[in-house]
Every structure is written in structure tokens, then in C-alpha cells.
């Protein structure tokens, strides 16, 4: 699967590139509109991720419009700064298939990418489980056995990330870069605090404990 990123902020572009490569996509990056337009219209990609505001004659919207005019129907995920879109539909009218408001968490973007690329159903996974714990990514419901559990946004995002990497430990920096905004600068201690919150809600009241610490490395979730 080949993905083209058109984004002038190097920081964001590189972060996206790395995350997507880790999911085994082949990723190209273009840092300005003219160059990006040329690539999008000449090379065959499976998905384009385009920033709305980019330098060059073409801005993000113009690229999408031009692509559609040339009957190139590659899915487009548009990135927009907060407040740029007056109403939700404007972004999609141009021909983009989805859009994401900056700043976003990497995992949020990966979820959209998975959806747009229509990965096989088994991979899509709307309900993640570990032992008697279930997390529904569509309804935002979390259960341990029969018991419904209320999580806050961050707690939910963290748990989802751990579940998607079940068995594999993640270190705190990796967790931060995936679960928090790409420009959030939170301390590793924040992750520790959230692990405490999660444990209080999904581990402590139950017999078996799913959340484990790998000292010196990080955390994982695993049903024994």
C-alpha cells in the first residue's frame, strides 16, 4: 500500500511517515503544493494525506479538486488547522473522503487511514478484547466481565493503544507519541499516572490483573 503525504511542516510529515511505515505502508512525502500535485497526479497511490494549508500555487483543496477533475479517485484524507473549516461539509465537498483537525493523536490518524484503505475486516477490529475485558471503539464502551466501566477520553485512548499492541510492551515515549497530540509535550510521569487510573478501574477490583509493568521499559496488556 502506497501513501503520499503532502505537508509542509516537517515535524508532522516525519511523524506521520514514521508511524505509517511502522504499519508497513510505503510512504512518500512532499513538502509543497506544486511538487505534491505533480506526484499525486503522476504516481499511483492508494491514499493521499494532504494538508489544507501548504505553500505553492496549489493549496490542499486545489489539489483535491484538480485530482478529481482528472478522474483520479484515490482516497484523500485532508488535514486542517482548528477553526479552518466553517462547516463540516466544506471540507468534504471538495472531494476529500475524510478530514482530521490538527492537532490530532497519531492513533486517531491511523484509525482513519485503516478505514479509508478498507483493510480486511479482521484487521479493522472495532471490538478489542483481552481476557474478559472488551473495548468497543465505535460505541466507546468498555466492559470487564458484565461490569460497564467508565473511562475518560485519555484513559480510553491509552487502553485502546495497549490493546492494539496486546502482548507487546510499549515504552512511555512511544505511548506518548501515539496517544497524545503530536505537539503535546507531556512528561513520562503522566503515563504512569494514567496507568494508575486505568488499574484502579479495570484491574484492582478484579481477580486477574491485565496491565503489566516491564521495569526499565514500559507497559503492556495481556490476558494470561
Amino acid at each position: 500500500m502506497r501513501i503520499l503525504i503532502i505537508e509542509d511542516e516537517h515535524k508532522i510529515a516525519q511523524a506521520l511517515k514514521k508511524a505509517l511505515q511502522q504499519e508497513n505502508y510505503a510512504v512518500d512525502v512532499s513538502y509543497d503544493g506544486d511538487d505534491g500535485y505533480a506526484m499525486a497526479t503522476t504516481e499511483p497511490y492508494d491514499l493521499n494525506i494532504i494538508d489544507w494549508m501548504i505553500p505553492g500555487e496549489y493549496d490542499g483543496l486545489a489539489i483535491v479538486k484538480a485530482m478529481r477533475k482528472e478522474k483520479i479517485h484515490t482516497p484523500v484524507l485532508l488535514l486542517t488547522a482548528k477553526g479552518t473549516i466553517a462547516d463540516r461539509t466544506t471540507g468534504l465537498n471538495s472531494g476529500a473522503d475524510d478530514y482530521l483537525v490538527k492537532p490530532f493523536a497519531l492513533e486517531e490518524l491511523l484509525a482513519r487511514v485503516r478505514a479509508l484503505l478498507r483493510r480486511p475486516v479482521e484487521v479493522q477490529q472495532t471490538v478489542l478484547t483481552a481476557g474478559d475485558l472488551t473495548l468497543n471503539t465505535v460505541t466507546f464502551e468498555v466492559k470487564r466481565g458484565d461490569k460497564m466501566i467508565n473511562l475518560t477520553g485519555k484513559e480510553f485512548a491509552l487502553l485502546e493503544f495497549l490493546l492494539r499492541n496486546q502482548g507487546r510492551p510499549s515504552n512511555k515515549d512511544t505511548i506518548i507519541s501515539h496517544v497524545w497530540d503530536y505537539n503535546a509535550d507531556v512528561l513520562p510521569n503522566t503515563v504512569e499516572v494514567y496507568m494508575k487510573y486505568l488499574r484502579q478501574k479495570i484491574d484492582d477490583p478484579f481477580k486477574t490483573h491485565l496491565l503489566q509493568t516491564i521495569r526499565g521499559f514500559g507497559y503492556k496488556i495481556e490476558a494470561k
Copy 2:
């Protein structure tokens, strides 16, 4: 595979060079930024290892940026002193593919190098075995037969090193230079102590003993 190291500290540069050569990479070293920049942009390398803080007009970051501007996409592994990075992502903004915080253990660097060069999967070896002992480098799990074994960070690193050199004995100094930070100054006795720890956990409780001492030389692991 050709690797370029740009690093002004001779001690580190030489240690890296030696370790990489032992893994059969062709290694060039440059001790300052200007020279390094020239080499990185004129010679074709498969990987660049660049120290952030180096003398010369170009520091490490500048070299990476300049390379990317000239559309040279050779993977870059950036070396940074602890605390140099304001926020974790800054290191990757420049276009570097990975970074490592000094001081690091040689084995850690070799692992990153292997990853960046995308060595064939069979070579990567995430699960190392010797007899009924298995060590999983991804999940950090160690088993002897069915029995899970808990190792500390150093114990794990030492066992991993011995397993990667299965059958071949390593002397204490070699072990120290690979498993400990390059500027750690530990006594050979420390290795002895850690061998004792490992034996208690993975040998003593079992029939066959995998860890062997070669008197006057060092240690090896081998399944008879």
C-alpha cells in the same frame, strides 16, 4: 552495506566502527561536520550515524536537513546527549529516522541499525533459543521449558548477547563493551556476578546447564 559515522569523539567513533565492522558492514568515519556533510552528500551510503553535537559549520541536525533538501533519503540515526532534546519529537523533525540517547549500549545501537537497514526477517531473529530456553526480544519474555522466568534489564541484555553468540565464548571485556554503556566503567567481577544471577534463574533449577565458563577466557551459552 556501507555506513558513515559522523562523530567527533574518537573513542565513541572507534567503538562504533569496530562493532559495525564485526557485523560485516563497511564503515567510514568523519570527525567533523563539514567533512561529514561532504561525504554524506557525495558518497552513496546505506545508513548514516550522526552525532547531534559536532564541531564544524554543520551540526548533526543541519547535515540531516541539508541532505533531505538535496533529496538524499539515506536513513539517518541521530545520536544525542541526554537532555539535549527539548521534546522527544524534535529529534525526528529534522528528517532523521531514529535517534539514540547517549550513553547507549552497543547492542542497542546494533539493534537500531539492523532495523533501519531492514535486514531480512530471518536475520532479525526476535526469538532466540538454546535448547529449551527461549528469549523473545519483542515481548521481553524468557522461558525455560514451560516456566516463565523474570529477568532484570541487565540480566536480559546479557542473556540476549550470549544467545546471539551461541557456542562462541566471549570474554568479560567484550561482554562489558557490548552489554554496558560504552562509557560505563564496570569491573570484570560485575560480569561474574551477573552470570551468577542468570545461573540461579535459568540453570540451577534445571537438569541441564546451558551457561558455561571457559576458564581463563570467558563465558558461553550452549545447548548440548
